[in-house]
């Protein structure tokens, strides 16, 4: 894979608070790189530094092998940014917003008009092009917010939580659009809290916490890394006939958690012991009502890596 951007050793502090601690990563051409992390992990600071709106204390960013600080104007021309907030003029029409923001990237005349129309079609807003933004729903505004970032056909699109607070239809539309952008060869850096979005669109994932990168890879490789155990949830009719410790006689069992009529068992991956668990329950006189086994989801990976403690 060809590297489009290299981030080396970025650090950033706000007064005493260090929000980025020597983060380094690559962005490859044509991929959708998702940056995940709880609140305060440093995602937005990273994005703000990548967009050149915020300076870093140390470290460097190379775009196509050159420092972005040395070619800032050229870099900005090739990047499209979707800010977290809806950054549109509410009193203007969708078309006027697009025309204005796209013209800042040097497009004019027929090229500008063509780009505006393409972006409106892309956002599914062609039929509302003359309407003022203030008359739009939240989802439509979000779609236009993205359209304004991609109308000038950037090489790299940086999206900071672009689907916050919208309906499922608009979210689907946006996710489909991102896949289309990827298929067209655009590179996308995408931050979000929504794991299901990452499952759908990501080529690669970076998980951040406390200003550092704690994991990086494809969703499959991340799951693989933590998936050294299997979880069974067993519902029984009347619990209490088998003692907690009896389960540990079975090979591979790591933890047993009994809550009411539900028994949660974590067992080492690769050891087939479900038949012995069932046999233990049946021999003990338990009537099994339901058994489910849970594969690791991205959310499991995320929570495992960042912990379950609430963040501000």
């Amino acid at each position: 894979m060809e590297s489009l951007m290299t981030v080396k050793n970025l650090t950033k502090s706000f007064k005493e608070n260090t929000v980025l601690k020597h983060i380094s990563f690559e962005v490859y051409r044509g991929e959708v790189l998702c940056i995940l992390g709880p609140n305060g992990a440093g995602k937005s600071t990273t994005i703000n530094i990548l967009t050149a709106a915020l300076g870093s204390d140390s470290g460097e960013i190379l775009f196509r092998g050159n420092k972005i600080s040395k070619q800032l104007r050229a870099y900005k021309k090739t990047v499209g940014i979707v800010p977290q907030e809806i950054a549109l003029y509410e009193e203007l029409s969708a078309e006027s917003n697009l025309r204005f923001f796209t013209s800042l990237y040097g497009l004019h005349g027929s090229k500008l008009e063509e780009a505006v129309t393409q972006a409106l079609v892309f956002a599914g807003l062609d039929d509302r092009r003359k309407d003022k933004v203030k008359t739009f729903s939240g989802g439509m505004k979000r779609r236009l917010n993205i359209a304004c970032a991609i109308a000038h056909h950037p090489e790299l699109v940086i999206m900071d939580e672009p689907t916050v607070g919208i309906d499922p239809q608009s979210r689907n539309h946006i996710l489909d659009s991102i896949k289309k952008l990827r298929d067209q060869g655009m590179t996308v850096i995408y931050t979000t809290h929504y794991m299901e979005e990452v499952e759908v669109i990501s080529s690669r994932i970076i998980i951040m916490d406390h200003g550092a990168i704690i994991a990086e890879g494809t969703k499959e490789s991340l799951k693989e890394d933590i998936e050294n155990e299997k979880r069974y949830t067993i519902e029984v009719e009347e619990n209490g006939k088998i003692a907690h410790d009896e389960f540990f006689a079975i090979e591979g069992i790591k933890t047993v958690n009994i809550v009411g009529n539900t028994i949660e068992i974590a067992t080492l991956k690769g050891i087939e012991n479900l038949d012995r668990i069932i046999a233990l329950l049946c021999d003990g006189g338990e009537k099994i009502r339901n058994i489910t086994s849970e594969a690791a989801s991205l959310e499991t990976v995320f929570l495992k890596m960042t912990g379950r403690k609430l963040r501000d």
Partner: protein
């Protein structure tokens, strides 16, 4: 240059679509002259003098309040967000704040000149034998006020703080400078306090032009306002940080 013109046109368009700013800088300002002129007409031998005094002094007050127009178009909540997108574009920082200064200046200047153009013939008031000097002197003051508004925003990073501070400072300078009533009759201490207010110097300059047909203060006030404008624009460049928009 093309992107500067694009941003400038958009800023002008936004200002011209803001009914509050249009009303404050036109109808409200004119009404204030009429009300204050009418209420104080008993204090003057000729009621026309009362209107003449308040037309000049309140136009100066309006010009200084142009700082608030600038801070509004630079960092007002609904404008700030699209401004963020301009920051992300290749346009660059200078074009952003200079466009706001220029558009606020033009917006206020045109409205204030229009008020004078209406009030003078309607109330039979005068801008002096050469009104062009009066109008010309307004320009650097309006520009300095707009630059001051943006400069405060660059320092305090917030429109609300800027507006609160500026309105307090401007009101204080105007009260001291005799915008609403002259302090000269309130004793030597009040008269001295009045003299240290720049508004007093502006009053002197504009009254000299309009009432005495004298240009004695024109040069110094024009030059000082121009130098102040340049310094404030440079100051904006030094203190403007794109991260203030994040």
């Amino acid at each position: 240059m093309r992107s500067f013109m694009t941003i400038f046109k958009m800023d002008m368009r936004n200002l011209c679509k803001n009914p509050v700013l249009i009303g404050f800088n036109s109808i409200f300002a004119a009404l204030l002259v009429l009300v204050m002129g009418f209420l104080s007409s008993g204090n003057y031998a000729n009621s026309k003098d009362s209107y003449q005094y308040y037309m000049v002094s309140l136009i100066i007050y309006g010009m200084l309040n142009g700082a608030m127009t600038a801070s509004n178009c630079f960092m007002e909540r609904d404008i700030k967000r699209p401004n963020l997108r301009i920051i992300h574009s290749p346009a660059g920082g200078f074009q952003i704040y200079f466009s706001k200064i220029l558009s606020s200046f033009l917006f206020d200047y045109v409205l204030h000149v229009m008020i004078l153009a209406v009030l003078c013939p309607v109330l039979n008031l005068t801008l002096g034998s050469s009104p062009i000097y009066f109008v010309l002197l307004m320009a650097p003051i309006e520009f300095a006020a707009a630059a001051l508004g943006i400069f405060f925003c660059c320092i305090f990073h917030c429109e609300e703080t800027t507006s609160t501070l500026l309105s307090t400072v401007i009101s204080l300078m105007c009260v001291l400078g005799g915008t609403f009533f002259s302090l000269d009759g309130l004793g030597s201490a009040a008269a001295f306090a009045s003299k240290i207010s720049p508004v007093k110097w502006m009053n002197n300059a504009f009254f000299s032009i309009s009432c005495d047909n004298s240009l004695i203060y024109f040069g110094p006030v024009f030059i000082i306002a121009t130098i102040l404008s340049i310094l404030l624009v440079v100051g904006c460049g030094l203190f403007f940080r794109t991260e203030d928009y994040l």
